[in-house]
């Protein structure tokens, strides 16, 4: 009887086993290897056997390194600004799209799907042309509208240009999530508020937003995680420059470990920091998902 019970317990693993083994081999094992390299000094181009064990020194070094601190700051500014703008715009768009008599909603939804599926590196490349101070369409439009011609390739405007591309690509995502949330809101509380004479602002503040809270958190978390990881758009749009103006964390890892210098050990330590931050956020996300009943019921 015992062995049969054991077999019954093991049976599900015949089904999920292959996926678990594959994922272990291609994600967990490499991550352990990343921790291992982060504890070593090793430069690209040298034989792997030349590595020197340095303990936690790489971690001590990166937190004393101005460039690393700078890239954390840039990443923070980028993430906070992009996510905030996307949320505000996305919420406005969602409210607009939720209007009951909007005949061509399907077409508008299709328009929104396009930016978020465009290959990010390609989006970066194309927007670099659009931001060209002399021939770009962006300066033509802002020139006509406001009579200014900002230099988007300059140190101070490079980061805003990356943020703008992120806003272009991902505001639709936030909008569509919130739209799904809005259409799932029960009508009764809204009607009750209306009967009680609530103003539109009060309804938004005290009824809609609280009801939307979980879905808003999910949208913000997903966007935050993606923004923290940002690499491809900034690679194609600015290459991290000019100088270090747009050197986001991933870009800094790339420049440290593979591009400007080959300090792979140091770059690994930075990557571990990013991995830890993302893991904490993804655990939060998973907790939220669990609260929504996903993954618990069949």
């Amino acid at each position: 009887m015992d062995s049969r019970a054991a077999r019954k317990n093991l049976y599900p693993y015949f089904w999920i086993g292959p996926a678990l083994v594959t994922l272990f081999a291609i994600t967990i094992a490499p991550t352990l290897f990343l921790f291992f390299t982060s504890l070593h000094y090793w430069e690209l181009g040298y034989p792997w056997s030349e590595r020197v064990f340095v303990g936690l020194k790489n971690f001590v070094n990166i937190f004393g390194n101005e460039q690393f601190i700078h890239s954390i700051w840039v990443t923070f500014v980028y993430t906070a600004t992009a996510v905030a703008v996307e949320f505000v715009l996305g919420f406005a768009l969602a409210c607009f799209l939720a209007r009951p008599r909007l005949a061509w909603r399907g077409f508008l939804l299709a328009c929104l799907v396009i930016p978020m599926t465009v290959t990010p590196s390609i989006a970066g490349l194309i927007w670099r042309l659009y931001f060209n101070p002399n021939y770009g369409i962006v300066n033509y439009v802002v020139g006509k509208l406001f009579g200014i011609s900002p230099n988007w390739y300059s140190y101070s405007l490079a980061l805003p240009s990356v943020i703008l591309v992120d806003v272009w690509q991902w505001t639709p995502f936030v909008a569509l999530i919130l739209l799904a949330g809005l259409s799932a809101i029960p009508r009764t509380p809204l009607e009750a508020a209306l009967v009680d004479g609530a103003s539109p602002w009060q309804m938004l503040r005290y009824v809609t937003l609280p009801l939307l809270r979980p879905i808003i958190l999910i949208a913000l978390l997903l966007r935050t995680m993606d923004a923290l990881k940002m690499f491809d758009v900034v690679f194609a749009l600015t290459g991290g420059g000019p100088a270090d103006a747009t050197e986001l964390l991933s870009m800094h890892v790339y420049r440290t470990g593979f591009y400007q210098s080959g300090m792979v050990g140091l770059a690994s330590a930075m990557a571990v920091v990013l991995l830890v931050v993302i893991t904490v956020l993804s655990q939060l996300f998973i907790r939220l998902l669990g609260e929504r009943g996903e993954g618990s019921e069949a």
Binding site: T31, I114, T119, L275
Partner: protein, 276 residues
Amino acid sequence: MRRRSTWPTVAANLAGSAVIVVLFLVPFVWMVLMSFKTRLQTFAIPPVVFFKPTLENYRDLFARGVFGHYFVNSLLTVLASVALSLVIAAPAAYGLARFNFRRKKDVAFWILSIRMAPAIAVVIPYFLIGSLLGILDTRLVLVISYLSFNIPFAVWMLRGFIEEVPVEVDEAAMIDGCSRFGAFVRLILPLTANGLAATSILCIIQSWNEFTFALFLTTTNARTLPTIVTQFLTFQGVVWGEMAAAATITTIPVVAFALLVRKHLITGLTFGATKE
């Protein structure tokens, strides 16, 4: 209740729609238009909207040689990785949908959390292991690395689709003498065909757009389309039309696919947190 829209409503609808079209659709359409312009038209001020399209940029792009090569690489890598992912993920999704076992929830969430790991962190060990094994710059190394995000995603998506099929279907099949695996292959998979298609398309989009792995793990032989940007970074001044042509060919397939599975897009991208 009035059913007819008043004109302020119509005006507001028009204004909002115009904003959406101008901000989100026009930049994409402008890129496509640019790919059909001559050099003179590309740099014309004020910008040209109506013009006689030319295929010059596309000819130049393919004459460059690498583009066709990258395209084939993208196609083969994506197809192989997505096919392999589904073969590994579908049984796992079935297992998670149909059985109860200890710590099942943790296992499911562990799989999901892998999907969110930053590529830049995983790619460093991949690069080192790949160079030790001598498989850098092959399509194989890309196929394997793309499994790392395709499998978790496919497991998570397919589980949702399988859970929508009543358990009675499996039970009836097994009473009729089917093995569980037989029921899975002959009934569950056909019944979730739409879900399988949507999942594969979403996997194809993600893999097709992948940049970080492709940049680090390949140099020339196995390069994929998103890395074509590195070809243009050095001499951007003169070849705008060609860049737009490359961008158009790279993005049109994914955009078309995305519009096709629009219903599942947000559910997929939020890992099932929203249902449309």
